[in-house]
């Protein structure tokens, strides 16, 4: 399997997500939290995000129907969604959330509806792009910099062995020679 090709593809997909403004610097902050202890953290957070944002969008749509012109309520729902988008670095979605909230402030129902449609579109696009990205990264696991950790552990192990051996030799050496039975 040509992992280098797949890694290049993954890197290209990710670069596209940033260049096209779908993701921002906060996504990199989330990526930095991934390590050997949590090797799939980014994907887990993304899955949680799409589940949660799907629920929030659905709640908002119900509120738009059930509570007409209740801009304060609509704004409260959107504030939650904007917070999630912001935490994960979903930049375009966050912008649409802010646009919706601006329309709430201007008490424009058409504006709110328009923003919501754009938000749903961005939600679907980001989901599809991230799914493609994770599919490729799953097939091509990243080069793990395990060498550094193993090197550190090896140094420590070697020094511990040397220390033990030195201690043993110093204690056993002359005394051992004295107690060795004569041949």
């Amino acid at each position: 399997m040509d992992y280098s090709n797949l890694r290049r593809q993954a890197a290209s997909l990710k670069k596209g997500l940033f260049d096209q403004g779908h993701l921002d610097e906060q996504f990199r902050q989330v990526e930095d939290l991934q390590d050997e202890a949590s090797p799939n953290f980014v994907e887990e957070v993304v899955v949680v995000f799409f589940k949660d944002s799907g629920r929030l969008i659905s709640n908002l749509e119900q509120a738009l129907e059930k509570y007409p012109r209740d801009f304060n309520r609509w704004d409260a729902y959107m504030q939650q969604l904007k917070g999630s988008c912001s935490s994960i670095g979903a930049s375009r979605m966050k912008n649409e959330c802010m646009s919706f909230r601006d329309n709430c402030g201007q008490r424009s129902v058409e504006g709110c509806m328009g923003s919501l449609q754009k938000l749903k579109r961005e939600h679907a696009i980001l989901r599809q792009k991230l799914e493609s990205y994770f599919q490729v990264t799953l097939e091509a696991p990243p080069c793990q910099s395990w060498c550094h950790d193993r090197w550190i552990i090896s140094i420590n192990l070697l020094t511990d062995v040397c220390m033990f051996t030195m201690q043993l030799l110093r204690q056993v050496g002359p005394a051992g020679a004295a107690t060795r039975p004569a041949m």
Partner: protein, 193 residues
């Protein structure tokens, strides 16, 4: 000898592997320094085997002890996942709850174990500010530092929280460096309870 190597690896290597990476190198240097000391000193000066430091430069501790316990309060599931991972990667124990009410329940069950509360401001029913007030009004809880997080950069809100006794006010999205810096500072400044 192989059994000995295995025991050494598990007793020394694994804890070291779990330490923050910048301290692993420092710990290795400590090991090497200890070895050099052993090699260069005379046998009769050798009082006892040098102790193998688990982490001699780690600010948290040189002995094995419980890491600080942080209570994270946020109604957003995504934020709870991120803040939880962020705190765990800085070697804190974390309990997450989704409301101020649940935070007070956790605190009533075992407030002695909680060394820091980090809470979102905007939450339904009980805001982070309300939680802060309840904590600072309680004789048992007021010693616990509280950090507030909010996506709204409102000077009035910030002022209000700091006046009420919040340790710090963070603007969301929070950065890992901000959280670990503040947690270290807040916990270090905490009076002995």
């Amino acid at each position: 000898f192989c059994l000995f190597l295995g025991v050494l690896f598990y007793s020394v290597g694994r804890p070291l592997a779990n330490h923050p990476c910048i301290y692993k190198t420092a710990a290795s240097c400590c090991h090497l320094a200890q070895l050099i000391k052993l090699l260069t000193c005379q046998p009769n000066q050798q009082a006892s085997a040098p102790s193998i430091p688990l982490c001699c430069l780690c600010p948290m501790s040189t002995t094995v002890q419980e890491p600080p316990h942080v209570l994270a309060v946020d109604d957003s599931l995504v934020d709870r996942v991120v803040i939880s991972r962020l705190l765990r990667s800085s070697k804190y124990r974390v309990t997450t709850v989704d409301s101020g009410k649940k935070a007070l329940e956790v605190l009533s069950l075992g407030h002695e174990s909680v060394q820091l509360i980090i809470t979102d401001y905007c939450m339904p029913e009980m805001t982070g500010y309300d939680l802060l007030k309840r904590v600072k009004e309680s004789a048992e809880l007021r010693g616990i530092p509280v950090v507030i997080m909010s996506s709204e950069n409102s000077p009035a809100r910030i002022r209000r929280c700091l006046d009420e006794g919040a340790e710090e006010f963070l603007i969301k999205p929070v950065r890992p460096s901000d959280v670990s810096r503040l947690c270290n500072r807040a916990i270090a400044a905490m009076p002995m309870r």
